[in-house]
């Protein structure tokens, strides 16, 4: 299992992560990032791409 965390002090709601994993990251109607906090190990590549794509480097992933 992969645990996803977002540093909300850093996040600027640029939405770049949403392009990499649309079902995990999304901007709500107010443009604020919402995300699913856990995902299956099979999603690692997409989640790493999302973390890499974050302009503020606010996403971290922990595998357990």
């Amino acid at each position: 299992m992969i645990t996803i965390s977002v540093d909300t002090n850093m996040c600027n709601n640029y939405g770049q992560c949403c392009f990499e994993a649309e079902d995990i990251f999304a901007l709500d109607d107010d443009g604020v990032l919402q995300f699913v906090p856990q995902a299956d190990d099979s999603r690692l590549d997409e989640l790493e791409n999302a973390a890499d794509a974050c302009p503020m480097q606010a996403i971290s992933l922990t595998q357990s």
Binding site: Y14, L27, G31, A53, P55, Q57
Partner: protein, 394 residues
Amino acid sequence: MSEPVVVVGAGLSALRTAESLRKNGYNGPIRVIGEEKHLPYNRPPLSKQALSGGIEPDELAFPHRASISDVEWTLGVEVVSSDFRSRTLTTDDGATISFGALVIASGIRPRRLPIPGPQDGRVLLRTIEDAHHLRNRLSAGVRLVILGSGFIGCEVAATARGLGCEVDIVSLDSEPMIRPLGADLGAGMREHHEQHGVRFHLGRTITEFTGKDQVSGALLDDGTHLEADLVLEAVGSVANTEWLEENDLDLSNGVLTDGYLSVVDSPVPAVAVGDVARHPNALFPGGTMRIEHWNMPTDMGKRAGSTLASLIAGEPVAGKPFDSLPSFWSDQYDQNLQSFGIPGAATGYEIVEGSYRGDCIVEYHDSSGVIGVIGVNRTAELLPYRKKLLARHP
């Protein structure tokens, strides 16, 4: 291959290429040589949060994956020449370094203009040190003249106004950020800046800095004299390719690569990544591009690491040619710009939502169709436009 992969340059593209080499099965030694003293760090905040105090410059380092924990980082050392036939590099401390394969990630530096007058008080913005220096000098009442009206100039203008500085922008262009944005959106952004008190001197350049030892003003080509405590020069960039000369490579506007980011005409396995690379893009066929957008080092590093791992193993290069959609964002006051594609290469544009003076979406096209989209405060709404650009793929 016993000699290491040597990566010249220690920015984001170096980091992502090293990670990708490991991910694609290269387990040999990797050595990164960087001119800056720092491990790879995130540059965009240098003109924004790191200047206004929201983020300390030292907090900008990228995290490293475990796969690259054995990479050797040689920092504060500049590679000054290279010989591809003997597979050696020479550094500014006189050392000769052998390589088995090469990653060219040497980036860009700010362009300097030969303007007469005192040097003290002229500043650039590319590195953490530059940001430290600028941050220490920006405070309420400081008179800042910015030469250049591109993104760095405009972002620093917005940040400096937030800090209470007086700001004048001098630019030969007719509107700020005109090349990527076009004249109408450029004019809309200019009005935001003017509402925040920035003064523009467009179609003008600085012919001389005035003052004795320290810059106290800038003389424009129409005779206007602007008083200044500090001048930021932000007039574009130069690719760092001098160290590659005499290897018969195409170094016109960066290092030319093929569609897999392998260096054209290189006798050794070599890739080029990031701001220094000029490359084809399968999404926009027919030419080459050198793009300084933030997402490119990451996307190029991933493709180039795979390419180089194959070249080193003596195997055919696998996968798709490089086809990343260029993307940038910019924050100025409460305006958030996001761009996808290559709007700067467009022959025309049309507004599809909103108004140029407020929030909007603008599409950019050439004879092949839509090649770019820019949204102002429209992040969530840009998703279908981005998908339309990705659908260009044959």
